[in-house]
Amino acid sequence: MSTELFFVQLINGIQYGLLLFLIASGLTLVFGVMGILNLAHGSMYMVGAYLVWYLVNVTGSFTVAAALSAVIALGLGILIERLLIQRLYNRNHLDQVLLTIGMIFVFNSLQSILWGNDPYGVSVPDALSAAIPFTENSSYPVYRIFAAVVCVAIAGALYFVVSKTRLGMLIRAGESNREMVEALGVNIRTLYTVVFAIGVMLAAISGIIAAPMRSIVPGMGESVLITCFVVVVIGGMGSIKGAFVGALLVGVISTFAAVLMPSLSNMVIYIFMILVLLVKPQGLFAK
């Protein structure tokens, strides 16, 4: 591989990693920090993508559609938490698995009823549709750079909120001992509702941002779900920094694997994860 190609692929890898982080960000918050096992996270990603596709067709503007979709997702998150998740806090984690698998079924079915099963695509908003010349016969789209910037911004914000603010401490404390947080006079119910909803919104936002770059198809949620879990686990539960580094590593490694040994490239991230866990059974950034 020439040095030029190496750098091109490195950039591809980083960009893919950043996108992975974006998709995993909500999961890190809800699963890594709050400790709620939400397997329907991928469905929220799917909902975001379908919503923005639908709303772009209705409103004609990507920006408006994106904003609306995010707000709808937030509402959806509140609804889900209040109606369902909230009933399971005192129960086994496995009940959450069951519940959220049921939710996957429902969302997949609703998607097919509401929006049909054709594959869709959203075109890149005009303002960001330019491309920067890159190598002699290829160029780099501005939208992807924009997406990368959004990813970094969200990563930074999330890291700041979770590890530096009082809110973040409360969220983490809630994962450790809900009863005690409440005994400190904190309305943990509402807090968790809001944070869960934000997690859902983050998933949807990543669906929105990814929509112009990817295809919108049934089952798109499940296909990213496992990769997101891999990212969170490699980084170490509860660590935003870990998830970020994990995402970049997975992105870069799978990009290079895809070029150098394509037939193995899906296995590579699993092999990588197994290696990481054998050396550090709690992930890279475990406390």
Partner: protein, 364 residues
């Protein structure tokens, strides 16, 4: 005839392939409805089972259609793995199995059987002619890329077969794990390799993603993109301008200038409110095969041997042009070269006339 003829459908109605399943079903029903008049009173009963494209459930569902519902015809599936499970159950049985999509070579190859028909294609068919097309266009070095599964591998092999036979060179052959859609790094690799052209097999969401990535990284218009026709089937709208100029070969094209096609498209649109795609055509042809057979037998389908020999000899007036069945029960059909212009697959020429699958390994 008093008892309705039972048609079992084993198609995916949920999951990634749901669109294909639904289109196939709609096409089939349309064909039988249109031909109802000629079938002197024969009525149909449909039993539709959702395969979810899960091979593990295939034998069980096939057994349900066979033993529980006593279906006379079983139409399905979309997914090759499911096809294998069905074939395991149905091979050598009395019930006729008509495959409306799955391209797996084995189905009309080593596993071919008198009661198994296919109205779609073998994976070999749509890709083989592209080799010659590429040579004609003067491409010498081609980068081939697809998913590493049956259909993907067989498509690339078929292309390679004709392309290298004519002196072309495959500079790189990449098989990605299915269903990964992280194509960006490969597109960069293509840019760096700088071949004369690229040949692909992708379908559905992967096809959209690949074409979009290809365009986004600036390769469109610089390195021609060739593909098996599924690259731009049912995906064109989502691909938008990114698909302009993509050349593909397939046994059908929406704008195909065949009388049956125009009539079919309009009828489909009036029935379902949208225009059909290739998957609907294949389902429609499965329906035609059933209808024509019943018609020829005057509604008496009790003798399965007669049903098989009748069906074998049919000439089906398909929207893709007339076709007949080969010995292995695979369609002998034209393959068209299409190019995307203004969001439409425009037929350029007939890339191969009455192409028959070699049916390697079939002993029929």
């Amino acid at each position: 005839a008093t008892d309705p003829v039972k048609i079992g459908l084993m198609l995916p109605f949920s999951g990634i392939y749901a669109q294909l399943g639904e289109a196939g079903r709609d096409g089939l029903k349309l064909a039988l409805k249109q031909n109802a008049a000629e079938l002197d009173g024969v009525t149909f009963e449909y039993i539709a089972l959702d395969t979810e494209a899960k091979p593990a459930r295939a034998p069980e569902l096939a057994s349900s259609l066979l033993n529980q519902h006593n279906a006379d015809f079983i139409v399905g599936p979309v997914h090759s793995g499911v096809a294998m499970g069905m074939i395991k159950m149905l091979r050598g049985k009395d019930t006729i199995m008509i495959i409306p999509n799955a391209g797996s070579a084995a189905a009309t190859g080593p596993l071919c059987a008198p009661n198994i028909f296919r109205t779609s294609f073998s994976s070999w068919q749509p890709s083989y002619p592209m080799g010659q097309v590429a040579l004609d266009k003067g491409y010498k070095k081609v980068y081939a890329i697809s998913w590493n599964y049956g259909m993907g591998r067989e498509s690339l092999d078929a292309f390679e077969e004709s392309f290298t036979a004519g002196g072309g060179e495959i500079v790189e052959k990449v098989l990605l794990p299915f269903p990964s859609t992280n194509f960006q790094s490969h597109v960069s690799d293509i840019a760096a390799t700088n071949p004369d052209a690229v040949f692909t097999f992708f379908a559905g969401g992967g096809a959209i993603k690949f074409v979009k990535d290809y365009d986004a990284m600036g390769l469109r218009g610089k390195i021609p993109l060739l593909g098996s026709g599924f690259l731009t089937e049912g995906t064109l709208e989502a691909q938008g301008p990114a698909a302009e100029g993509v050349m593909t070969t397939l046994h059908y094209a929406e704008q195909l200038d065949v009388p049956a096609n125009q009539a079919f498209r309009e009828a489909f649109n009036t029935e379902y409110g949208h225009y059909p795609d290739i998957y609907a055509v294949q389902g429609y042809d499965a329906g035609l095969a059933i209808a024509n057979t019943i018609e020829k037998l005057n509604g008496d389908i009790t003798d399965k041997q007669a049903v098989i020999s009748t069906m074998e000899k049919l000439t089906i007036d398909s929207p893709r042009g007339e076709f007949t069945f080969s010995k292995a029960h695979n369609p002998i059909q034209n393959i068209y070269l299409r190019e995307v212009k203004d969001g439409v697959n425009v037929v350029q020429s007939i890339a191969a006339k009455s192409l028959e699958d070699p049916a390697r390994g079939c002993k029929l």
